[in-house]
Symmetry: C2
């Protein structure tokens, strides 16, 4: 059997220790979603990574082991769910930049999916974390799409995001309370 | 290398031939969802099967090959999406029975998820196909939950499903037009 020098074991028992709080945006969102579910606030889930399964072994009766598979390109965004009848759809993105968010971080299939769900009156947004300055924003996708349509710049400046987005608070529970921002946005749209 | 006698190759090039029309409920729904997406009617997707990845090889730069992984139990239903601002959530089930639908086909994690999304005003339903008599129904989950709460029977009879559900038509395009039933249900609820 050929041993690939770069074979990687995935640590499946990885625990999110308390000292990691705020370190990883995906963990923060997953824990926030668990909190929302347990408190009947919203039901939002991360979609599993789509995988093309090629070969499966059945070493014993009830245990199927996948022995050959490939990652597929997703056709949607990572998160969706429901809050008081509203359909929510979003992506989470981290950037190491301190000053701007590169639009190339939003892939074509994500933008296409966003356009399709916005046509169906979805609440579509991106959660952007500036890891270096520890600030996390919720930005509605419609603002980003209108920026892309009207501007040639390849990135959103932090000041643009600050103006068009909502700065999210990191708490103990929920870790990253984005539903409070969504609630405010729904209220604004009702009144405006 | 040990050769497992029951190693299975998954046929990744499986094409749905036209003669298979109506044969497989999942294919019908996936093709219907593709039609809805292309015609801006709704955006509904099947969630990928969740998989626990244990080992990944990188035989060349851009090609990651999963060499060890296991199936995980999903925590949600298979399909969700948005139709004109409404959040849709459903499961698709086939039965070979000609007279009833065994409630055991709805798993606990699916019922728990349905209860959670109904609390958030989701439109939650099950699409049930009686393969032997070629009839497919859309049944709202709230009716099923109230049946379970009030009845000790372990299955829904075809006549109960006929009374509480909507018989869906199989067409050329879309294959299985469940949105028309959803539209009627939304109208009824508005007027009732």
């Amino acid at each position: 059997m050929i041993k690939y020098p770069n074979k990687k074991k995935i640590d499946t028992n990885k625990n999110i220790s308390f000292s990691n709080r705020g370190m990883n945006l995906e963990d923060d969102i997953n824990q926030t979603n668990a909190y929302y579910l347990n408190h009947n606030i919203a039901v939002v889930n991360k979609k599993p990574t789509p995988i093309q399964i090629v070969e499966v072994d059945y070493p014993c009766r009830n245990k199927a082991e996948i022995t050959k598979a490939y990652f597929k390109t997703p056709s949607t965004t990572d998160y969706n769910g429901v809050y008081q009848g509203y359909y929510l759809d979003f992506e989470a993105k981290e950037t190491h930049s301190k000053t701007s968010f590169a639009l190339s971080l939003l892939h074509k299939h994500q933008l296409d999916h966003f356009k399709a769900v916005i046509q169906q009156n979805a609440i579509a947004f991106v959660i952007i974390r500036f890891t270096k300055i520890d600030q996390t924003y919720l930005v509605m996708v419609k603002h980003i799409l209108s920026f892309i349509a009207n501007d040639t710049k390849k990135s959103l400046s932090l000041s643009w995001i600050n103006e068009h987005g909502y700065l999210l608070q990191s708490n103990y529970q929920p870790r990253l309370d984005y539903i409070t921002a969504i609630k405010a946005i729904i209220e604004e749209e009702k009144n405006g």
